[in-house]
C-alpha cells in the first residue's frame, strides 16, 4: 500500500480547519440560512463560537470519546455545527436520512449504538420515541425546532439552544477537556461515519477518517481551482457523502460559504437568490428543471418561442465549443452574445445558475440532450464518478474535456484499474477505513493493497483515456444466448425521454429484453392538458391509449439508437408495459437515493414479468401500496402490454459497419 499522505500545516482535522478559518478570515460569512424570509448569516468566527458552545454543551451532557452522535435533519447550519462539534468533543457524527422510516432509523441507530441524537423537530423526535424501546444505548435527544414539543417529557430531551447555553455557562469547567480532545484528533481519527443506502441488504456504516475527507477535498478543490469566494447551496441530504464533502470538507478546506435553503419547497427561489458559483445536482434535478423550462416555453407567446428555438439551435451548435475554448467564427460569437442577452442570460438567471463556474452531476447517467442543453447555455456542467467508500472522487472531467457519455479521468492521487471481467477498481487517499462492525464486507470490498471494488462495470475509452461506466457489475448479466445484458444502459436510454420517469429492463437468461416503465406525471400531465386528455389519477393517465402510443414511439426510437451500438444492439426492448403505480422508496421498490431495486420489483410484480414474456395482450393485477402516513392499501388495474418495433440485428450490423 502506498505511503499514507500527511497533513499540510497541521491541518489534520475538521476542527483544526475551523480554527484556522476563524483566525485567518473570521469576518467572512461561513453559513447563511433563509429564515422568516430573510437570509441570516454567520461568519467563521461566529460559527466557531456556536460550534464551541455546542461542543461544551455535549461534554456537559456526558459525551465520551468514541461515542456516536446521530444527526437527523434537513440542511441547516445547526446540523453542520453539530457534525463539527461532535468531532471536537471526540465523538463521531453519524448523519441519517431524515425521510427514512422509523424502522430504518432504528437499524442504523442500533448498529452504531448512538448515545446521542441531534434532530430537527417533532417529527424526528416522534420517530425516535417510537423505536426507543429497542435502542438501549440512546440516552439524549437534542432538537432544534421546539414546535409541538413543549408538552413532551424533557428529562432526556433538550433544546439545541439550551444545550449551547449550558455549554457557555459551563465553559470554565469543560474548556480544558474540549481543548484536550481537539488536540488528540489527527489525520487517522474518524471524521464521520456515513451509512450507504445500498441497493441490497442492510446499510453499511462507512468510516471515513480526517485523512480521507481532507485529502479528497484538497485535491478536488485544486482540480477545479475552488477558492474562498465560492458560494454553494446545501440542499442534498446531509447523510450523503457528497454533501459532507461539499458542505464540510471543501467548504472548510477552502473557507467558502454554505447557504441553506428556507425549506425544501423554496429551493428553486433560494437558488436564484444565492446564485451559487459551485453547484452539484443529480441528473434528476437538471432533468426536472429542463422539463419545467420546456413546459413554460410551450405556453409562451409565438415570438418568444421562435426566439427561444432560434437561439437554442445556435447555442447547441456553438455553445459547448465556446465553453471549451475551441475556435468559433467571429460572427457566431456575436450572435451567441446576442442570444446571451436575449435568452441564455435570463434563462440562466431563472434557473439560478447564472454564476455557476463549476457544476457537477453524478450518481446516474445524464441524458446527452439534457447535458448539452446546460453546457450550450455556457454553464460549465461536468460529470464525476464517485462513491461513499472513495470520499466521493474516483474520476472527474477536466475543463475542456467534457462529454455526456464518459465520467472523466482518475481524480488526482487516485489510481483506477479494470479487472478482467470488466469491474472497476480504485485506490487512493480518500479510500475509507472500514465498514463499521462488518469486517467481512470490508474484506470483500477492499483488499490488502487498498484496492476497492466499485461494483460497476466499465472501460477506459481508447484515445481520450476517459472512463465509461456501462452498468452495475452484478446487474450485467447474460441473455439466453450468452450475450451481455446491460439493463441500466438501456434504462438510461429510455429515461432520457422527459416523459419516462423510470424504467426497469428485464432480459437476464431470456431470449429478448422487455421493460416496465413509469411515466413522468408532470411532463405527461402537461402534454395531456395540451391535447385535451382528461385524467383523474396517475393510474388513469398511465393507462391511456394515447399515452401508450407516445411511450411506444419513445421505446422504438431508443431501440433505433441502441441498434447503432454493436455491443448492445441485442438489448433492444421488444415488449413493454407502463406500470399502474409510481415506483416508490416507501414501498421498498427504490432506494432513498432513487435507484431501482431490481430484485424487489421482479418479485413484487412477478405476474407482470411473466405476462411480458408469455405474449399476453393485457393483464389484471393488484398491488399493495404504502401511503405517506404509513397506512397500507392496495390498487388494482388492467395493464396493456405493447410490442415495440426493433431493428433486426442483421440490419443493425450492416448499418454499424
Amino acid at each position: 500500500m502506498a505511503q499514507p499522505s500527511q497533513a499540510t500545516d497541521g491541518m489534520d482535522s475538521v476542527p483544526a480547519l475551523l480554527q484556522r478559518n476563524a483566525t485567518r478570515f473570521g469576518g467572512k460569512p461561513a453559513y447563511r440560512e433563509k429564515e422568516f424570509g430573510i437570509w441570516q448569516s454567520w461568519t467563521w468566527a461566529e460559527a466557531e463560537a456556536e460550534i464551541e458552545a455546542l461542543a461544551l454543551g455535549l461534554l456537559n451532557l456526558g459525551v465520551e470519546t468514541g461515542d456516536f452522535v446521530a444527526i437527523i435533519g434537513r440542511n441547516r447550519p445547526h446540523f453542520y455545527w453539530a457534525m463539527v462539534a461532535a468531532q471536537s468533543a471526540g465523538a463521531i457524527p453519524v448523519p441519517l436520512y431524515q425521510d427514512a422510516a422509523a424502522e430504518e432509523m432504528a437499524y442504523v441507530m442500533d448498529h452504531c449504538g448512538a448515545r446521542y441524537a441531534i434532530v430537527e423537530d417533532q417529527e424526528q423526535v416522534d420517530k425516535l420515541i417510537e423505536v426507543q424501546e429497542g435502542l438501549h444505548q440512546l440516552e439524549h435527544m437534542i432538537y432544534v425546532d421546539p414546535r409541538g414539543l413543549r408538552k413532551y417529557d424533557h428529562s432526556k430531551l433538550h433544546r439545541f439552544i439550551d444545550i449551547q447555553q449550558q455549554g457557555r455557562a459551563a465553559r470554565h469547567e469543560f474548556i480544558d477537556t474540549l481543548k484536550a480532545r481537539r488536540e488528540k484528533l489527527n489525520y487517522d481519527s474518524v471524521c464521520v461515519m456515513l451509512y450507504t443506502s445500498g441497493t441490497t441488504g442492510k446499510p453499511k456504516g462507512v468510516v471515513l477518517s480526517n485523512r480521507n475527507i481532507i485529502e479528497a477535498s484538497k485535491s478536488s478543490a485544486d482540480f477545479d481551482h475552488l477558492s474562498r469566494d465560492e458560494e454553494v447551496l446545501a440542499y442534498l441530504p446531509m447523510a450523503w457523502v457528497g454533501d459532507f464533502i461539499f458542505s464540510i470538507g471543501q467548504a472548510y478546506w477552502c473557507g467558502f460559504c454554505v447557504n441553506c435553503p428556507e425549506s425544501p419547497e423554496t429551493m428553486q427561489t433560494d437558488l436564484r437568490e444565492i446564485g451559487p458559483t459551485y453547484y452539484f445536482a443529480p441528473p434528476r434535478v437538471f432533468e426536472t428543471q429542463l422539463t419545467n423550462v420546456m413546459i413554460r416555453m410551450e405556453d409562451a407567446t409565438r415570438l418568444k418561442k421562435a426566439l427561444f428555438d432560434h437561439f437554442m439551435a445556435l447555442a447547441r451548435r456553438v455553445g459547448p465549443a465556446i465553453l471549451d475554448g475551441h475556435a468559433v467564427s467571429g460572427m457566431d460569437r456575436v450572435r451567441y452574445a446576442l442570444g446571451h442577452a436575449l435568452i441564455y442570460g435570463p434563462l440562466k438567471d431563472t434557473l439560478g445558475l447564472s454564476r455557476v463556474r463549476v457544476g457537477y452531476t453524478a450518481g446516474e447517467a445524464i441524458g446527452p440532450e439534457i447535458f448539452d442543453f446546460y453546457r450550450s447555455l455556457g454553464i460549465n456542467l461536468k460529470q464525476l464518478y464517485g462513491q461513499t467508500e472513495a470520499s466521493v472522487f474516483i474520476t472527474l472531467q477536466p475543463d475542456g474535456e467534457v462529454r455526456s457519455d464518459t465520467v472523466g479521468v482518475p481524480a488526482p492521487g487516485v489510481e483506477v484499474r479494470i479487472d478482467p471481467n470488466g469491474e472497476v477498481y480504485y485506490r487512493g487517499p480518500g479510500v475509507f477505513e472500514y465498514y463499521y462492525k462488518n469486517a467481512e464486507s470490508t474484506a470483500k470490498t477492499k483488499d490488502e493493497d487498498g484496492w476497492v471494488a466499485t461494483g460497476d462495470a466499465g472501460f477506459f475509452e481508447e484515445g481520450s483515456g476517459h472512463l465509461r461506466i456501462i452498468d452495475r457489475a452484478k446487474d450485467v448479466g447474460k441473455m439466453a444466448d450468452g450475450r451481455m445484458f446491460a439493463p441500466k444502459y438501456v434504462e438510461n436510454k429510455l429515461k432520457f425521454y422527459p416523459n419516462i420517469l423510470e424504467a426497469v429492463v428485464f432480459g437476464n437468461d431470456q431470449e429478448i429484453c422487455a421493460a416496465f416503465l413509469n411515466i413522468d406525471l408532470t411532463a405527461v400531465g402537461n402534454w395531456a392538458e395540451r391535447n385535451n386528455i382528461g385524467y383523474a389519477s396517475y393510474q388513469e393517465l398511465a393507462g391511456h391509449p394515447k399515452v401508450l402510443d407516445m411511450i411506444q414511439d419513445h421505446v422504438e426510437e431508443a431501440n433505433r439508437s441502441l441498434s447503432q451500438d454493436p455491443m448492445l444492439a441485442h438489448c433492444q426492448v421488444h415488449r413493454f408495459l407502463v406500470l399502474h403505480k409510481e415506483l416508490d422508496a416507501d414501498d421498498g421498490e427504490m432506494t432513498r437515493t432513487r435507484k431501482v431495486r431490481r430484485n424487489v420489483i421482479s418479485e413484487k410484480f412477478g405476474d407482470l414479468v411473466t405476462a411480458l414474456y408469455d405474449g399476453s395482450r393485457e393483464i389484471h393485477t393488484t398491488t399493495e401500496v404504502t401511503y405517506e402516513d404509513g397506512r397500507k392499501g392496495s390498487i388494482s388495474a388492467t395493464l396493456q402490454i405493447r410490442d415495440a418495433a426493433v431493428v433486426p440485428l442483421e440490419t443493425a450490423k450492416a448499418a454499424a459497419e
Partner: protein, 273 residues
Amino acid sequence: MNDMSPDGYTTEDGRSIGPVVMEMRNITLRFGGVVAIKDISFDIREGEIRAIIGPNGAGKSSMLNVISGFYKPQEGEVWYMGEKRPAMKPYQVAQQGIARTFQNIALFDGMSVLDNVMTGRIRHMSSGLFAQAIWKGRAEREEVENRARVERIIDFLEIQHIRKTPVGRLPYGLKKRVELARALAAEPSILLLDEPMAGMNVEEKEDMSRFILDLNDEFGTTIALIEHDMGVVMDLSDRVVVMDYGKKIGDGSPDEVRRNQDVIDAYLGVAHD
C-alpha cells in the same frame, strides 16, 4: 365535567384555560319567519378550543356569523371581555380582535400570499392615512415590524414556498392554510374557524388538525370552530356545543357530549316531533 371556576380550568393534557372571553346570552336569530337560532347561550374561555357542531342546517354558520358581526340577532346579548357588545359592523368586530375564516374561503385572489396575510395586520397598523402618504419613516418601520410578524406565521404554517404566489393560483388545501394565516396574523383574541376541514382529504384534514392544535399550543390562541365532522372535532376540542334545528342540545366536554342522548339521536337521525 372540568372544574368550571370563573378563573378557568386545567385540561387533561395540562394546558391552563383562562376566564370567559366571550359569552352568548339567549341569542335568537330569525330570517323573516325562519328561526335560525333559538335562545342559545354558551361561553368561550381564554385559550380553549371550543367547537360548535351539529348536522347540516343546525344553525352553526349563523352562530359564527353572529359572533363575527355579519348577522345581528333579534334577541339576546353578546358579552365580550366582560362588557356587553353594542351593535357593531363586521369590520368593527374584526378590529376588536375577532378574526375568522370562511367555509368557502374568502381570500384576495389577485394579491400574493404575503399581501393577503399582511392584510391581517391591518388592525395593528396605527399610522394614519396622512402619515402613510407623507411620513415615510414611521410607516416604513411599521411595515417592517409587521412583515416580521407575518413571516413567523408564514413559517409556522409552512407556506414559505408560495409567499409570492398570487392566491388565485393555489390549490384548495393551500388556500385554506393561507386564510388561516391571514386570520392568525391579526393576533386575534378569538379565532373563528368556519368548517376548517371542509372539502379536504384525510391527509389534509390531519395536517389542518395539527396546525390548529399547534397554534393553540404555541400562541395560546382561543379558537372557536364549527364542523359537522364529529370525529375530527372530538379529538380537537376542549368543550363542544351541539346544535340541532337552531337549538342547543348539548354542551360540555367531548366525552359528555358523546354520551348525551339528544346528541346521539340528532346524529343518528331520529325523527323529530
